[in-house]
Symmetry: C2
Subunit: 318 residues, 2 copies
């Protein structure tokens, strides 16, 4: 989770995004989790995501099956963020030279398996080998079938902000097995309950500003409401055991920091109208964490004080 | 162009292909240059291809623009092989850490530019960085608009075999700038002149067997008809200058070998009924190189003798 002072990936993508203009062919251009492209009478959703050794997985530690599943599930999580259904996928495999075809078979079989589980067949791609590390790219085509797509830009002042599960500490293992919240996203979007959505791949402190920027609004998060995953406590216990505890910050602050900044939770960040308790909020497992305001910027309310929230989530430096 | 004794990429893909079964959703499964996927009432064509430093380009030698163009044009050449039109694409960029955003911008701009030239907007993707070399994956969506798709499996005994241009020696530079023969492919397919097609990425000696296997036929190539690119002579002159000439084979044999085996020509290999000379064969620039037979196997006719043609084209070992 390196931080760099160079131009970041999000700055770079922001530059690209500013140039993107919706057109008849591409009604949803670069800037959301997937793009929307019209083919004849159909709107298809398109996206690509990659995993690389040493960045998204560790080839010495993780099995081919784990690696392949992560490569695919990240893309399905993007489908969840748009409330669309995965429909078909292609993959590029770049293998370390000399590992043999066993790795290619294991990766392909695992991708095939997870594709079938989500009714999204692997239909093609490319396999090659080189002197570098393992890289897998996956491209997904999604379909809407009358629900969604939900964009990042639909948040309005007065909306509530929800997350679909506890956050933080995914590095302990959850980051390898994203659970795409497709059924939840479809249920929310189908009932008109969601105005904007994103999947929490880079951390709430980095992904919420993306919704706010796209929607032209601001937001406040109530620190007391942020659900902290038990992995955070396990992680802190491990760090303390190694003498890496942060003595300069209180335990609560450190725990909250992990929940807001760690990333790779792949839970949904959902912005929509207030959902009444009797209206299936509990059924859906949604946790309300804040609200949207007209004033731009993202703020954190903690112990009665409100401060600017720093974007310390996972940042891919270039 | 390394040859390995391990399971090759084509063996591996063959294994996958045997498992692939056409379905309502995927009427054209893995096994062609692109897969055909039905979304609602539309058939879309899907494929992914990648380029990696040290395999498909040399980062020290080639400019970002050259590299990005090759990454995209290889995919458009796959569209040509199916006689479909590129419609939209996504890209994954994996950058060497620390090179800064200039590289990402240069690559993206070049992909955008070549996409516009082919009416195929770049609509999304993913950018990351790592400690390894540059890798670009491109996924393309194609549309048919009433023409094609042309598959590998349609060749019939009695068909003629054509190529769209001279072959061999692409390593001198042409391999970086594939010219997707989309207009030619659409013209042929639109007139019902083509039964099977593939783009010559791995060399005629390797790509023709793919058509024969998919079609359940065999073929004979007339060595005297194979158009040899002038790059082959330039390449041989360079090798001779370095003392690398093949003294054990005649000049004609060596030249033919380059035309059949070098790969990365990205010309079309077209199988179809005999095209009369007055029927635009010359206009189309087609060069007849052989014919299809019921007997399986691929043969080379040379100086009145017929021998089995070895598949010595570019092979990606795993």
């Amino acid at each position: 989770m390196s931080k760099t002072v160079q131009m970041s990936e999000s700055d770079f993508l922001e530059k690209i995004r500013r140039r993107a203009v919706a057109s008849d062919r591409v009604p949803i251009p670069i800037g959301d989790d997937l793009a929307g492209v019209r083919v004849g009478h159909e709107l298809i959703m398109l996206g690509s995501d990659q995993v690389a050794d040493g960045v998204h997985f560790d080839f010495r530690e993780h099995s081919p099956r784990q690696i392949a599943r992560k490569a695919v599930l990240r893309n399905f999580s993007d489908c969840a963020a748009m409330a669309c259904l995965p429909h078909a996928m292609t993959a590029t495999l770049l293998l370390p030279r000399g590992v043999g075809s066993g790795l290619a078979s294991a990766l392909t079989e695992a991708m095939d398996e997870v594709g079938r589980a989500f009714d999204c067949p692997l239909v093609g791609g490319d396999t090659g080998s080189w002197d570098g590390g393992l890289v897998i790219g996956v491209s997904v085509v999604g379909r809407c079938e009358g629900v969604g797509p939900v964009l990042r830009g639909g948040a309005r002042a007065g909306d509530r902000i929800y997350v679909s599960g506890p956050l933080g500490g995914s590095i302990l293992g959850r980051h390898m097995e994203p659970v795409p919240r497709i059924a939840l996203a479809r249920a929310l979007a189908g009932r008109g309950l969601v105005h904007a959505m994103i999947d929490l791949s880079d951390g709430l402190s980095r992904d919420l500003p993306r919704i706010c920027t796209a929607s032209g609004v601001g937001a406040t998060i109530d620190a007391a409401c942020v659900p902290i995953h038990e992995d955070v406590d396990r992680l802190l216990a491990m760090k303390l055991g190694k003498g890496e505890g942060h003595v300069s910050r209180t335990g609560a602050e450190v725990r909250l920091g992990h929940a807001l900044d760690d990333g790779e939770d792949y839970e949904l960040l959902i912005v929509g109208r207030e959902i009444e308790d009797g209206e299936m909020k509990a059924d859906l497992g949604l946790i309300e964490v804040g609200w949207v305001e007209a004033e731009s910027g993202v703020r954190l309310m903690r112990g009665g004080r409100v401060e600017e929230m720093e974007s310390r989530g996972w940042e891919h430096g270039l």
